[in-house]
């Protein structure tokens, strides 16, 4: 196990706790995924999901840069993300076990969130600022530009959509 993996693990764990997420308590399993994230960062330049085949191009992979756009829906429906790096509180406390789940990432490229046609839900000219929504965790920010890093899930600015 590399020192880099230890460091990334501690960071992910601390970030998760702060924002109400939980890493898989099976530490051997989790460390292997963290190593996978580092391997992907090294070969692609971004931490693509370890359990999906990445393209290598950042925009193509944007929806599967960890945490992926599908994590929260999978946590809601299955109690774990596709890789089972993130799990529900129940699983984190050892009351249930993470099971493999189907991949909800659309197969068609143009149905993926970064390529889907975007229309703000409503545009209200009365608003003093546009509202931006993080595609990963749903965080909303009313300001001229989306934040550089999502304060909740740490997703980058390019993963925000105009919401209102």
């Amino acid at each position: 196990m590399s020192g880099d993996a230890e460091k990334l693990f501690s960071k992910l764990d601390a970030d998760a706790r702060k924002s109400g997420y939980f890493l898989n308590p099976d530490s051997a399993f989790t460390m292997e995924l963290v190593e996978g994230l580092l391997a992907n960062e090294k070969r692609y330049g971004h931490q693509a999901c370890p359990c999906r085949l990445a393209d290598g191009n950042r925009l193509e992979d944007l929806d599967i840069i960890c945490p992926c756009d599908y994590r929260d829906a999978d946590l809601d429906d299955f109690g774990a993300c596709y890789c089972a790096l993130y799990v529900s509180k129940e699983i984190a406390e050892g009351k249930a076990k993470a099971e493999p789940l189907p991949d909800r990432r659309p197969v068609g490229r143009n149905e993926r969130p970064q390529f889907r046609e975007k229309k703000p839900g409503r545009t209200d000219s009365e608003l003093s600022h546009p509202v931006w929504r993080c595609r990963v965790c749903g965080y909303l920010a009313a300001r001229d530009e989306p934040p550089g890093i999502c304060p909740i899930c740490k997703a980058t600015k390019d993963r925000f959509d105009r919401f209102m």
Binding site: A39, C51, R52, L53, C83, P100, V107
Partner: protein
């Protein structure tokens, strides 16, 4: 294509499409090893260019979602994901 072979009991042609970074894939590979069956596997993420494309085209025939792990048994049965019970049943 560069399949690696793991020796074991002959239960027909068992092919595992996997990713080198995916932990469910690793668990599937270990599970097959523990069952003691012979199988071939390929880490598609470690392939390049034409080899990668041909592996994905082959995988596509079995699993149009192209997800990993995908296990193909005897060119007949396909098991997608680390489903211990299904794999055990199919290889009995």
């Amino acid at each position: 294509m560069k399949f690696e072979h793991v020796d074991g009991q002959d239960r027909g042609k068992i092919v595992l499409y996997a990713l080198s970074t995916c932990v469910w894939c690793k668990r599937t590979k270990q599970f097959l090893g523990n069952l003691g069956v012979g199988f071939d596997y390929v880490f598609v993420d470690l392939l390049q260019g034409a080899e990668k494309e041909s592996a994905m085209a082959e995988l596509d025939k079995w699993n149009p979602r192209r997800s990993f792990p995908t296990l193909v048994i005897n060119g007949e049965k396909c098991i997608i994901g680390f489903k211990e019970d299904e794999i055990k049943e199919a290889l009995r």
